[in-house]
């Protein structure tokens, strides 16, 4: 996490329905079904 306020886009986690969520702004806690776990490193 480089910035922590949504400007670097470095903390992206893949969403199960496409696109990415920002962990710093939209997380850090997510509904488990919202995240594409297989797409995480």
């Amino acid at each position: 996490m480089a910035c922590g306020f949504g400007v670097c886009l470095g903390c992206a986690a893949p969403r199960s329905h496409g696109g990415f969520a920002l962990v710093c702004r939209q997380g850090p806690v997510f509904e488990a079904g919202e995240i594409d776990w297989a797409g995480l490193p």
Binding site: A2, C3, G4, F5, G6, V7, C8, L9, G10, C11, A12, A13, P14, G18, G19, F20, G39, L40, P41
Partner: protein, 314 residues
């Protein structure tokens, strides 16, 4: 070498009297309150930080690079730590030009100077984007991102091939009458040649440098850290490279230069001005300290280091 004013640059000379510095800076035809901007991709759309900072204290800010359609970036990991800097391979994730014009720009306070950054995979797409953002009164100028080091198509290809760069700049130039800066890639053998091409094709200024192409390796997993394998190195690690390139470009062209790369303090910013830049952009340092750019902008007016903001280049 001529003074900054000869380069259409900082109008510092006349205002340095009585301990003050002339705050008026004109970059490529864009009047700025001071010489300190924030770099594309490091300050979002301004809206993220607007609640906490008075963005009007900045000379201006360059918004995240835009594409015509919204775009998702690379899968994670997108960033990695590096000695005195970081690597990124975000790949121009952005909301697209429509949302930028209709949602992001109107949400910014009046008086904030906004430059739009254009990205595309072919000149026509850059030109269409430039034309779209030019129609908005809040866009003070356009920066062409001809230098993203980690997108598979577009960006760096244009910044590395002088013929492609010439075609890109000429095409965008025809599409907009707004002040036009071209952001150059450091991943070339002769940066001055690239700047000359921009000048010849009608650019009003050049911004340099974008991130330096790089990679990092995870030894335990025996693979590259970034999903994209290649990324761009930014931060203090690249500052001496950026200074060298700004100096070389200043020797080669008479259009103004906006210097970027590893700036973390007013003193760093002054180094770029001394190498021939008219203005500077703060990038990676915004992540460490979101108030950094505003602090440097203030210093450009009020501290002893600020008096050097009106110095003639070396």
């Amino acid at each position: 070498m001529g003074g900054a004013a000869v380069r259409g640059g900082a109008s510092g000379a006349g205002g340095a009297a009585a301990g003050g510095v002339d705050e008026r800076v004109v970059l490529a035809g864009i009047p700025l309150r001071n010489a300190v901007l924030t770099a594309s991709g490091t300050f979002g759309y301004g809206t993220e930080l607007a609640p906490f900072l008075d963005l009007r204290e900045l000379g201006g800010f360059v918004a995240k690079s835009l594409t015509l359609e919204p775009r998702h970036g690379n899968p994670p990991p997108r960033i990695a730590e590096a000695p005195a800097g970081m690597l990124n391979a975000i790949s121009i994730e952005n909301v697209g030009v429509k949302a930028f014009l209709e949602e992001k720009l109107p949400a910014l306070p009046e008086g904030v100077v906004v430059l739009a950054s254009a990205f595309g995979t072919e000149p026509g797409l850059y030109a269409e984007l430039a034309a779209r953002v030019s129609s908005h009164p809040r866009v003070a100028g356009i920066e062409i991102n001809a230098s993203c080091p980690h997108v598979k198509a577009g960006g760096i290809e244009f910044g590395q091939d002088p013929r492609l760069l010439a075609e890109l700049v000429a095409t965008v130039r025809r599409a907009t009458a707004r002040p036009l800066l071209v952001k150059l890639s450091p991943n070339v053998t002769r940066i001055a040649d690239m700047a000359r091409v921009c000048e010849a094709e009608g650019a009003d200024g050049v911004t340099l440098i974008n991130a330096v192409q790089a990679m990092e390796v995870d030894v335990e997993r025996r693979r590259p850290v970034l999903s994209n394998i290649l990324g761009g190195l930014s931060g203090p690690a690249i500052r001496p490279i950026a200074l060298r390139m700004v100096w070389q470009v200043a020797q080669a062209v008479s259009i103004p230069i906006c210097g970027v790369g590893g700036i973390g303090s007013a003193e760093d910013a002054v180094k770029f001005l001394l190498c021939g830049a008219t203005a500077v952009q703060v990038g990676t340092q915004n992540y460490l300290d979101p108030t950094a750019a505003v602090g440097i902008a203030r210093a450009s007016r009020t501290t002893p280091a600020g008096t050097a903001f009106s110095a003639s280049p070396i």
